[in-house]
Subunit: 431 residues, 2 copies
């Protein structure tokens, strides 16, 4: 720890390479994974950049990065096509020669052999590695990565395919950076810890108000809020290098408990947990089977519930009743009720929940009916009006009314979250 | 056009500001919109970067950007909280003073008044603008943006909220850049045109092979491929500055026709069109009603179909039959058939498609049954085995077998796409 006061800790930056990332509609999601993993080693990512498949632009990005960061992780541009010029760019930028490396060729040949193939001319390019660089094995795909030190910065180059990049980061890069920490003393031992809290049902301003004054002045923890149709996410992030790991942990634990009590039952999940996983665990724990009747969400609730592995243990079925006739035929909602109250009404939501529960003969029925827009709204029943129903066979179905803002997609997202949240609250006796 | 040969055209870069973008799980999706809009003016985005809410890091990013780009668009960090320090960073980086600007204050006050509020102390910070900068009105939210020229670069600062950023880009920034083009002559008149083609059913290598030699040497168009669970996307992108608009347009049209003929019926959509929209239009055109029976996709197909506005015109209903009992009760699939063939079988897929079509009394029934994993696979029926069924009441249901790779989420995505693609081919008489 003594060295922490003499030399500043390593900071990192990521460079995503590929014209598709620059202008093509694909986000650089790799950088989020990298920030998480580097943070665990106490290395803060301070800059991210993206450049196209242009050698000169990659060179510029490398030269910019080495001036301000000690760990540089590049992803992409290691494939077999002529577009892929990261190898050339790194060699050129750092004044190294490119040469075919035996261990790179062997790893790639072995991988392709598993798939019953031999490397073609284009793929042989993937074994070209800058002189002086260490080859990083790719346990998933064919393109090896590499790592070299230049101007006191560690430059790491990985493939852009997320699964390959992630495995190479875990198996090759992190051990290497950990080893570097022992020799340089510039890798802080205190991980940057980030804790996430997910709320639903409160506006961002309300969450902000509830958390006011949470973090005392001078305490090295950042509070972050992030709003989306799925709710408001709260984050607590320690500043890695400023205190000992135990202190950081204790401090964060204390703050996390405070966050939990302030957010009370608006808080539905923490960390990487999701609403559908939380609801699933609570259903499974109680041995309850669920059936869902969806109108405006069109199947989204079923889709989300079944994203969770093992969901067949508690999801029996779903009915997507887009037409009024389907509501009557699939769920037994009386046609007169729809005619009287309208398909988007508290009464129909309740009848849908009861109908699906009875027909599936399960413990609980959940329903949604609403107007997702852009058409179909009226003055009394505008776009965004949504009713959620829940029936547990006690003869008293629960209903909730919502008036959501946003486009069709957002209204569907919010409606599905509101329905699952009602189920969560019911499961926890807080509906 | 004559000036194109003397001075190089403007190039742009974007800087996304916010710790949530850097480490917080939110991608910098604004940059994709900006690249599109700037491309329409013929300005290529060559670099993108992201920095956290740290004044010094934003300053570094600005200093880096002005060295290599003539148009710099910054998003984020203009809100009312102390985290938001873009205003200070731009002022500091460019040696300007910050001062409260009358037109910024008026715009903000007027906006808040519409919402029945008056600016609080924190919000008043939003009216602080660097001296010499032009205020950019925010027609949607409260934070104004600004624009200033420094070291021959135009530095534009916009809020990070996508809807506000997009409107300000359209209403304020693009007219301003267009005007700058007239005076400087460095803004190329030829827009960068990007055309997208979406395929399903071919591996990336197969698409690559089909398109081999498409673009003759020296022709200023880039070909890009992008693989995802939804298929392989092909892009043609003109290089804006190298030729006249009409030439570019003719060239692209010729190449696009060649792409279409080479990809033949693997090509399902172009531009921003989607599989669910294509299928929807074809159903609507023919006056057909659809019903869907989903097992492993859990509602995803219904969700996707109903993302399209107006889908109630052709989507009648969906049944999510997660349990075997649900397949029998909701669709009339004989329990003996499930016992004999297994729920994941060609025969059950066919029975599901027939069952939902008959019960809904519609023109066409579509079904999916498969093993999404990670559990549930056997040696003969591994994870990723998926059957798709389609029945149109002619007594000869169509079925298809797939063996998909990937995790649960990816297998669901691919299965939904394969099902919709079979429907598309059937609609176009190509199944």
């Amino acid at each position: 720890m003594s060295n922490a006061s003499t030399t500043p800790p390593f900071t990192a930056e990521t460079i995503g390479i590929g014209t598709e990332l620059l202008i093509g509609g694909r986000s650089d999601s790799n950088s989020l994974f990298l920030a998480d993993e580097l943070g665990k080693l106490g290395i803060a990512v301070r800059f991210k950049s993206v450049v196209g498949d242009e050698r000169q632009d990659i060179v510029t990005a490398i030269h910019t990065a080495v001036k301000r960061s000690q760990v540089i992780v590049m992803t992409g541009g290691l494939g077999p096509t002529v577009d892929d010029c990261t190898r050339e760019a790194v060699a050129y930028a750092t004044g190294h020669r490119l040469g075919r490396r035996k261990e790179a060729l062997e790893g790639m040949t072995a991988r392709l052999a598993q798939w019953g193939r031999t490397p073609n001319t284009a793929q042989l390019r993937q074994a070209m590695i800058p002189s002086g660089a260490t080859v990083l094995k790719n346990p998933v795909g064919s393109a090896p990565g590499f790592c070299l030190t230049w101007k006191k910065a560690v430059i790491i180059s990985l493939p852009g395919v997320p699964r390959e990049m992630e495995e190479m980061m875990r198996q090759e890069v992190l051990p290497l950076l950990r080893a570097a920490s022992d020799s340089s003393g510039r890798l802080p031992r205190t991980p940057i810890v980030r804790q996430l809290f997910h709320t639903f049902g409160l506006a961002e301003a309300d969450v902000d108000a509830k958390l006011k004054g949470l973090i005392p002045k001078g305490v090295p923890v950042d509070l972050g809020l992030l709003a989306s149709p799925m709710g408001v996410q709260v984050s607590l992030t320690t500043k890695g290098s400023q205190s000992a790991p135990e202190q950081n942990r204790d401090l964060l634990q204390k703050l996390a408990n405070d966050v939990r009590s302030r957010l009370s039952d608006w808080l539905f999940a923490e960390g990487h947990d999701t609403m559908e996983a939380v609801v699933g665990r609570e259903l499974a724990k109680r041995g309850l089977m669920l059936a869902v009747a969806e109108s405006c969400t069109g199947g989204l609730i079923g889709h989300r519930l079944t994203e969770v592995a093992g969901s067949s243990a508690y999801v029996d079925r779903g009915a997507v009743c887009y037409s009024d006739r389907a509501k009557t035929e699939m769920l037994g909602v009386p046609a007169e009720l729809i005619a009287q109250q309208g398909a988007v009404s508290k009464e129909v939501a309740a009848a849908m929940a009861c109908g699906i529960r009875e027909r599936a003969n399960v413990s609980v029925g959940l329903s949604v009916t609403g107007i997702a827009g852009p058409g179909g709204g009226t003055e009394t029943k505008p776009v965004g009006l949504v009713y959620i129903g829940l029936d547990d066979g006690t003869g008293q179905p629960i209903t909730r009314e919502f008036r959501f803002h946003g486009d069709r997609h957002v209204i569907k997202q919010r409606s599905s979250q509101a329905a699952l949240d009602l189920l969560r609250r019911w499961l926890l006796d807080k509906a």
